[in-house]
């Protein structure tokens, strides 16, 4: 082994040494970080999938698009209006009948499983007779 190494020209040995140093100092830490990241990603993803299956959501989470979002939640509520606030923020004004309050609960619980969005709290509610007007600020992730 030692004899074989001695036969290798010095400059080649230096190249090999450089390769070993780069491997130890750069590649190996990158691989370790990659493994840890992958592990963390899987764990968080499993949590989300668990939550999704609880609400029978099978479709993958989508990027937030105000137009698509408005179209998709229209059937749930009496009125839906979306206003862009800038910096990826949107104000969603919803009108809902008091008897459909359960739909509101389900909507809030699942919105972040269906879309990459965050609800900027608090919620603002105005109730009038049989309807509730709700204003939610969303931030696309």
């Amino acid at each position: 082994m030692s004899e074989t190494l001695k036969k290798i020209p010095l400059i080649n040995k230096l190249v090999y040494l450089l390769a070993i140093i780069i491997l130890i100092a750069w590649v190996v830490p990158n691989i370790i970080t990659y493994i840890n990241n992958m592990k963390g990603y899987k764990e968080h993803n499993q949590e989300l999938q668990k939550a999704s299956s609880k609400y029978a959501i099978t479709a993958p989470t989508k990027a937030f698009s105000p137009t698509v979002f408005q179209e998709e939640i229209k059937p749930l509520f009496s009125k839906v209006n979306i206003t862009e606030l800038g910096q990826k923020k949107y104000e969603v004004a919803i009108q809902i009948k008091k008897e459909d309050l359960k739909k509101l609960k389900g909507f809030i619980e699942t919105i972040s499983l269906r879309y990459y969005v965050e609800i900027i709290q608090p919620l603002k509610l105005d109730a009038k007779e049989e309807t509730i007007n709700l204003k939610i600020t969303l931030k696309a992730l």
């Binding site: 990603y41 809030i108 105005d126 992730l141």
Partner: protein
Amino acid sequence: MSAKQYLTITHYKEREFYYLNHAIQMNDGFIAKEIEQFHESEKEKFIERIRTLQRQYPLHQVISISLNATQIVKDKEDLTQASAEIFPNNYVIQEKIDIGNIPVTLYFSPFSILYEEYKHKLSDKLTLIIGLFDRKLYIMFATKDKIQQSWTLGTRGLTEKQIANRVYKSMQAYYKISFKFADHIEMLVPDDAPKLLKVLREELSMSILPTQKTIHTLLHNMGSDQRKFTSSYMKAAVRRIESHENINENENKVIDNLEDINLNHEKPTSFMGKIKSIFESKPKKEKPNNEPQTKINAGTLNLSSFAPLLVVFLAGAYFSAQNSSLQEKVAIVETQNEVQIQNSQLALNTQRVFEAMGKSGELQNAIISDKKIELKGLVWGIEPLREKLDALYAGGDFSIKPLENFMTEFSFKSKI
């Protein structure tokens, strides 16, 4: 100074000093340069000086002498020990060659040197040949076809008379086994030693023909002609076993030199030594007849050697890119998880607020988050509503205000 000149570099160690010399070999002899002396603490400098000479003169031999006291001339070759051939039935044997990391291509025994010096004088009559090297006497009884017997005598701390006495006893011992006395004595001394010669002559009662030559001169002479050293230089044990299997490779014996042996058998003792040895390139081998040496890629860069570096770079770049994109994904799913937990709490709070209203009141305005609430509305059952809200948000501020239409307004603010 021509790089194509054939150079013999000679060195040996005596006491704590290394002695180095080099000579340019010509057709009619050699021109020796000044002897350089290095203290053993300057070993690296000494080695570097040899390397410099080797670089300056591609045609060279680095020659040294074995001053080991245990070497002896035997009739049979011992493949397990280092040996040098004098005659086909005479071999100088010593246990091993120990030259450290000092460059050597030819290594000679004093017995071989003595034979080379006196072979033209040898006849059927017995000659006692004595060589004085490094305070040791190398003694051999020789005829023209054989070294009959050999001894090595240490002279350190002995007077000339004691030395002479020991030589005499050696002669007596030889007489007991062969019933022969030497016809005459030849003595080779590297330095002027008149007193020793005088005492020897007196003690042995024989004429002694002295020859004075320095070790460097003797070694330059040994390295001057390939025919002189092709068979007579000392070879290491293992190497000899290998070469014995292929006797026909005699013509290539010159390349079977000690530097190869040294690299084959010298093992670095320390970890750092091992690392260092890895970075030492295999030395150049000298061709027979002192043809120009072939460089063994010591300074050339093989493109294929970049393959591991390229693979490492590609792997690093791949995982680096993967990490960047994966970190973004991880950040998103992490946020998504946190947001999901907050949303669940928010939905639960919203539901509870409406459930708390029940038939006790009617909600008009509400600000709801997962941690606090602010409510305003009409109330019919003050106490039940207060109790329910207090159960949800203990310590909250519940207040009522009578209205003109005989209705009562309530407001509730949770404690932060």
